[in-house]
Symmetry: D2
Subunit: 340 residues, 4 copies
């Protein structure tokens, strides 16, 4: 079968179309014919071995998110049946509960082989059925980006109606966080550098928006928005280095900043003072567990939440798709179509 894999040595230049023998579903395993994949920022970091030892070993099939159809099941499989459409879970071993090294080391697309393969052989515990209202392209976007947003808003954030949430940017996690915060009745403010994108998120339900290119001190600008509340109850921190110091100022006493993204840099440079004195909680969020995935799907199904889709590329054009994602100009998830 055809696969894309990093082989020989690390580096984008070593990401190649290749072949592997077809796997066979053993006891408790399912064979999934992949139909569609979706890219995340993470997928650009893996080929360069950007997570060090945690990136895995070569050869490595990249990309974490995708959807396919169960085409065979091994002995003892009860969770799914042939013909079911499923997403692999990002963490193959994290069913529920707290994270652990073992659970974290079971990530698809590095250190474990990812979805850029015509056939995936997975433990039945590592897949979830996807609802029929979603197209293949929509379903492919869920395992990382959507679940990260759900974990931040619902599982850890326990967002309530009437709370005020700030979301940074309009990337994959940001747009899902907007949708999920609105589902829970929250008041949502989105910041972005583009008026056009802010117009789009307003149409998606954002209650307030700030263009941080025009108003760099968005923390001050948000004071009027959160006047009665003394700051945001929750901040979905996606910018990292550049945004974190402002997040510390914009959060209310006792509020929670979900630490998810580091788009502008990894360096955490700030004063410890406000974290202590205003009793702020910083909660790192890394995707989430399967129970969260299934809870998210129930919520999405009921409200027929639709992921925002971007451009599509053929399987063989993975590197073009990655280049497109790296430019990062457009809204919506970049997709890879299998069989094209």
């Amino acid at each position: 079968m055809q696969v894309f894999q990093i082989e020989g040595d690390w580096g984008f230049e070593n990401l190649k179309l290749s072949t592997r023998p077809e796997p066979v579903a053993g006891r408790g395993q399912v064979l999934v014919a992949m139909r569609m994949a979706a890219l995340n920022a993470r997928d650009l970091i893996v080929p360069a071995r950007g997570y060090g030892r945690a990136t895995g070993e070569l050869p490595l099939i990249p990309v974490s998110d995708g959807v396919g159809e169960v085409v065979a099941t091994g002995e003892g499989v009860t969770r799914v049946a042939v013909g079911d459409r499923v997403c692999p879970t990002y963490f193959q071993n994290w069913v529920s509960g707290e994270p652990s090294s073992t659970r974290f080391s079971s990530a698809l697309g590095g250190p474990l082989d990812g979805v850029m393969t015509e056939l995936m052989c997975l433990d039945q515990n590592g897949v979830v059925k996807v609802p029929s209202y979603l197209s293949d392209a929509e379903a492919a976007t869920l395992p990382c980006a959507a679940l990260t947003a759900w974990s931040a808003i619902a599982t850890y954030g326990q967002t309530r109606a009437g709370e005020q949430v700030l979301i940074q940017g309009t990337g994959g996690v940001a747009l899902f966080a907007l949708a999920f915060a609105k589902l829970h009745g929250a008041h949502v403010t989105v910041i972005s550098s583009s008026d056009e994108k802010l117009e789009t998120v307003r149409a998606m339900g954002a209650d307030a928006t700030i263009n941080y290119r025009e108003i760099p001190d968005w923390a001050r600008a948000s004071r009027e928005i959160t006047r009665e509340n003394g700051g945001f109850d929750k901040i979905i921190e996606l910018g990292g280095e550049a945004t974190f110091p402002l997040s510390l100022r914009a959060i209310r006493p006792g509020g929670t900043i979900s630490m998810i993204g580091v788009l502008s840099g990894l360096k955490l440079e700030a004063s410890l003072g406000p974290i202590v004195a205003r009793q702020i909680r910083l909660q790192g969020v890394t995707v989430g567990h399967r129970d969260g995935f299934e809870a998210m799907l129930r919520a999405m199904s009921q409200h027929e939440v639709k992921p925002v889709l971007g451009d599509r590329f053929a399987f063989k054009d993975l590197k073009a798709a990655m280049a497109h994602l790296r430019e990062g100009d457009s809204l919506g998830k970049t997709l890879i179509e299998f069989g094209k």
Copy 2:
């Protein structure tokens, strides 16, 4: 000033229009000119001393829910100012945290004097400002019925988008619970004996309805509704004796039944088996604390949630209003207008 009070002896016949000297706001207190009151089932039980020793002592001013305007403030008052429109909190001493005997014994309308008085003198910690989008009549309905529903759905229930909630009947708490469950993105099923009322709740957002007069075994009938979920995640138990055994069958393993009302009787007669074997949680809910009240008001304001109002009666017609409530045929809160 004019008051209604139970005097001389307990019993409805001793509920009388009377007078008391006007109170003066001491340090930390506020004087509130009442404008509107709203009745709860509880108000029909108090005159007959239905809560025993916990009902309080005579003379007692009844009725728990109302709204008024701050007309004077004592020394050191900072929470509110003259001119603010406020609701007294049902539990005057329960600001936040866990309940206690002390907190529970500070209930308005028995054991403490209630709102059927032209002027109330309250600790500043025992009032909350109400948002301007609400009319006096709407605001008057909040302290017991709305907060009980909020506590069950949000504070204790932590209802998430996509969860399935069953609400019993169309009384005051039930209609607020419907509104709040919908705010949090839940799927809501309402049961009632009246098709007309079920039509109304559908218009208010209920996703599914069952007429339990036509389908007495609503637990079985709900199986189709909750098929994918294995039962309701949350049940707002308002019927008591008649509904509880069915609630035990309709809840999913690990689900929560909020124990609030006992309209059909107080007797708890059921098998312990399913509570243990299906790991069900029963959570008694008694109104709630002031922090919950303020969180609820933020949610209500954002979404401009409007309470359902019923018939109105003049202050002097309290007993007619109570008789009207006892009949219980109509939807919406029964109101008492001051100054009429």
Copy 3:
């Protein structure tokens, strides 16, 4: 290999020493040579098909709790290795998170085959390694009784130092609950019908004891013990029908009653009034998940908590062991030794 199984028809008379072919560990599975089993009240109910359809199908190997040694591992097994001493988890599919029908239907000793077999073939996710400080006999007692107590005290009860806990009786769950509540710094009261047993639990750390044969109204008697607290923070409800109405009186407002056992009967007959008015929580507890098991083992290891052992019987004398348990006179878990 030798097994005990209920065969032909339900009923104790059909519980027989028999043989089955030796299983082989498939992918992801481990083969465990059982060394010791321990009996629970549940094991007396299964042979008579006391859980109805949930009891499983014939032939059925009974008994839930035991310990053995891994003697073979299938492909892909990473959680344990040959030579490890392990306990099977009671619920084979409940790794963590909330319960569900699927998770509840994976119980060993009915509906799934239990531990009365020389060799068990289990999914690697269905075993936990046991610490070396425990003897085989001690380790065998953990999967049901100890984990149920841990779930009630720690996972759901979140017992804190200084809280007051009431424990009913001196059975398997009760003695573990006593040990775990003391580990968390709680004040523990135990009730029993035997002064001798009460003396034993005092030696194990119980802070207060009541002989309910001498003082049938132990709820009233406990008032002095909980005077400053207004009742117990937590009650480990093991008696059921006879004790529950007293538990409702002895719990503090806002307290939690863990519903575990029904020794005196299944009938729940009480007034709903106090549950609502005192905002009591009833929390059904059914054993617990694997994450809880492993957290419990860390706590036990650190403090070298030793289970209380009772009489031992040879494998072939299972029925005598069950008869001994039914008499219920003695303290400590009844044990079955393999290879004898």
Copy 4:
């Protein structure tokens, strides 16, 4: 009456023995004759207006922690009576629930007047009764240091038996955190620069110790201690700038770092990477609420936990006491005796 106050201008040189008229207890207030005060690091920052606007206004009576006897009560006081021994709560308005600006701005010893006054007039809601087993000196140490430790270990940390906790240093909060973590059955590691102090904490129950002067990379050194756990479950972060990067390495995936102290500096300089990738929680902790104080006292009373006391100074020698604290060489709380 005699007071110590910062008057005229900010600065230690303006901290002076002075007099104020005796206050009178109004409605809901109590008059407390102070007996003993205890110093915290915070008290050294206030005179220099180190918290900016949040420090309060002049003249200001400093010092947050103390104990005294109720000598008069105003109308409507029910929580305490004349003769009761009480501690003022650090946050006068924070009874329970989440923090807020209003609650945070009610701190004694800046912005509100502190305990260095012969008589304090406080709202009845701002005092807690102290158990009789504690001496005045012991009770005086509780409001800030002990409650901060309790909030970190119990209220927010929800520390369980068997968890591994790292505590930095041997200051006031650290020693209370050690005591409270042990009460909850945790395994505790303490780091310090002094072998002598480490010997003392071992005697107090610490399970492991590291001298960070000898072993500067205590994060690496702790790997052996936490080998089975993958890191500490909880870290009580008291060092700030110098310790935080090591804490990030020593915490387990999903663990919680309680951000409390900044002894070595305020600068937060670290990589965001591990917070996100290992899903770490940082939880700022600022003392805590009254409900927490009372829960802590129940736990302390049951186990007769004794605070570690340091040197004592007369009321008039406040500045000498502060100088002594600044040197920071000795273990135990620095005390101020009234009436001497």
